[in-house]
Symmetry: C2
Subunit: 370 residues, 2 copies
């Protein structure tokens, strides 16, 4: 944009992306994985943005992780040719789309269940293709994933299914978000990855080809990246970080690259103010995975006199300290609690360089629900 | 769609709209307002959909209410010519857009503050137009709105501002969502509207032209629609209703027209299942305005053996009763806690007639953040 354009010109709520911080975050993770000889396959559900994925690839990402087939299709259209859909794909319609995607890019996915794997294999054979799969294992997250005692049975079933190619094992260490103490989180994360590596070794001893041993979750990466036998990391949130990551001590808050710019629209009530960012912008997240770890609904930057105490759809309620000079028309830059959820609400990201607007990126895979 | 197409063909998560229930809901509210001689100006933030607004207009709505200028612009483009933006419009950029909108449709908005009203008036004069305004009054919601003791001062200030035309007064009875007892809610709602009518009469006695006396909030409409002196109602949610409205006893749950269709994608864990609708589909709302009134994150229809206990971004956690026959691939139709918030997550609504897909409507004003 031309000189003289300032953030004041933006209409709010707007989603701001500090390009310098983004670059720092993306490069640091790439370097970390490179140093330790791990493949980095970042999760795009956090940013859904072609330009960010392109930078991740430029700095060495081996491919991308997606939550939705529709996200993977958007990135395939944009020329990304190695996509891992880390989500159980269920139903004839989705399996058809997966096979179409497999005609044009390298695509892999997960299985946690023999029946689902059998259906996936049948769809692959019908399409005369082979789908690479990782076994998704539950080591404590208790979400998707085969329980540890059933891993061997599933592994051998998958290995014998024509249409599937068993490539490895993976976990999501989402439970690390629930452990605020950094030392205990480190212990927890290393224990999980240690068990995953053991499982991989056991399956190899049984004659299975387990090339990929993959773990996700931004808060755990630094804790596990040096573990021998782990081959791949799939963090997503790290491109932005957010109040949740800062609260966990993963990074200081000034590393957060994403913020919501909001305007004070009412100061009619004593001791309170209303901003034009509500739950439809900031979301009600106070953590992830249903955890409610954070006070308030985002952290206003450079303002110690306000806290965001409640959200309705289009209104944020601020508690304003006595003596504050906050006025209608004032702008707040708010570090969101959970960046991945907030990005999904906006069609575009306004780039910020040296404090001024510097362009816009489309959140290209936003709204790809299926 | 052609005969034989069933909901099984839809990929999930999908947003379903039962056309019969929608019609019932829209017609009932239109009839109620007509019977009592009240103008109905429905809030489009709940549906953001041209086709629904068109039906509301066909059945007598005098105009539409919007939360965002961008929503109003979408409806103006679609031929709606009487739009009330019930949100304080702050900042030069938004005031410019408001004036452009006023060149092509009848548009009105709210003020709750002398300074903001003065800026709005200056922008109107600069554009050589006049903007109709209602005074937004806070009678207990404690969000946007001038406090009662300052109403007269604001009213006279606005009345003297060239560029503004004072048309009336309005409230949002959002606090009725916090009162689960129907009798007490009725008392509360009538007390609020009674005070609003008194304020209007007092301002008229002071020589001000108060033609519009307007109240919002779906749970309160039936309680206040007969009150003399109230001229207009602005409910939004009623087109769909949702688990929150059913929980308040506003309607039985089988009146809810909107649902999220989801698929069970994992049953790997004992006593639990995972569906492909998480917070990015269902939202974390357990009420509105920050209220947390509901247990769980939506109500699965026709299944008493499951409850939705937690959501991460793309996963819903189900607690499954012992002995349940729930399997991977099964579909759940989930009545969302808060319909207005859920609609905002989807680009389209799948119409359902007699249990089968019958077309799709675009959520045309989705993502209009500013």
């Amino acid at each position: 944009m031309s000189a003289g354009v300032s953030l004041d010109c933006l209409q709010t709520p707007a989603l701001l992306l500090d390009v310098g911080r983004l670059e720092h975050n993306v490069r640091e993770m790439a370097d970390l994985c490179h140093t330790h000889g791990k493949a980095l396959r970042p999760h795009v559900k956090s940013h859904k943005t072609i330009e960010i994925a392109a930078r991740q690839r430029q700095l060495g990402a081996v491919g991308l992780t997606a939550a939705k087939l529709g996200e993977a299709e958007v990135f395939a259209d944009a020329g990304f040719d190695d996509l891992f859909i880390c989500y159980p794909l269920v139903g004839a319609g989705k399996l058809r789309r997966l096979m179409m995607l497999a005609q044009r890019v390298r695509v892999s996915t997960i299985v946690d269940d023999v029946d689902a794997a059998t259906e996936l294999a049948a769809a692959a054979r019908a399409a005369e293709t082979t789908i690479e799969v990782l076994l998704k294992i539950d080591l404590g997250m208790h979400r998707v994933g085969v329980a540890e005692p059933q891993v061997d049975r599933l592994a051998h079933a998958v290995a014998t299914l024509s249409g599937l190619s068993l490539r490895g094992v993976c976990i999501h260490e989402g439970e690390t978000y629930g452990e605020p103490d950094p030392a205990q989180r480190r212990t927890l994360a290393r224990e999980r990855v240690g068990r995953l590596v053991e499982i991989a070794e056991r399956l190899r001893r049984q004659g299975l080809a387990i090339d990929v041993v993959s773990s996700g979750a931004t808060p755990a990466v630094r804790d596990v990246v040096d573990i021998d036998g782990l081959t791949e990391l799939r963090p997503g949130n790290y491109v932005f970080y957010d109040a949740m990551q800062a609260g966990l001590g993963v990074v200081p808050e000034d590393r957060c690259a994403l913020s919501v710019l909001a305007t004070v629209v009412s100061r009619a009530g004593e001791g309170r103010a209303i901003i034009d960012a509500g739950a439809k912008a900031l979301t009600l997240d106070r953590g992830v995975h249903g955890l409610e770890l954070l006070e308030g609904y985002g952290r206003p930057r450079s303002r110690s006199d306000v806290t965001i105490t409640a959200l309705s759809e289009e209104h944020g309620w601020l508690l304003v300290a006595p003596g504050s000079d906050l006025r209608v028309g004032d702008r707040l830059e708010i570090v969101p609690n959970h960046a991945c959820a907030v990005v999904d609400n906006f069609d575009g990201l306004t780039l910020v360089e040296r404090g001024a607007p510097a362009g816009e990126w489309s959140v290209a895979a936003r709204g790809r629900m299926t």
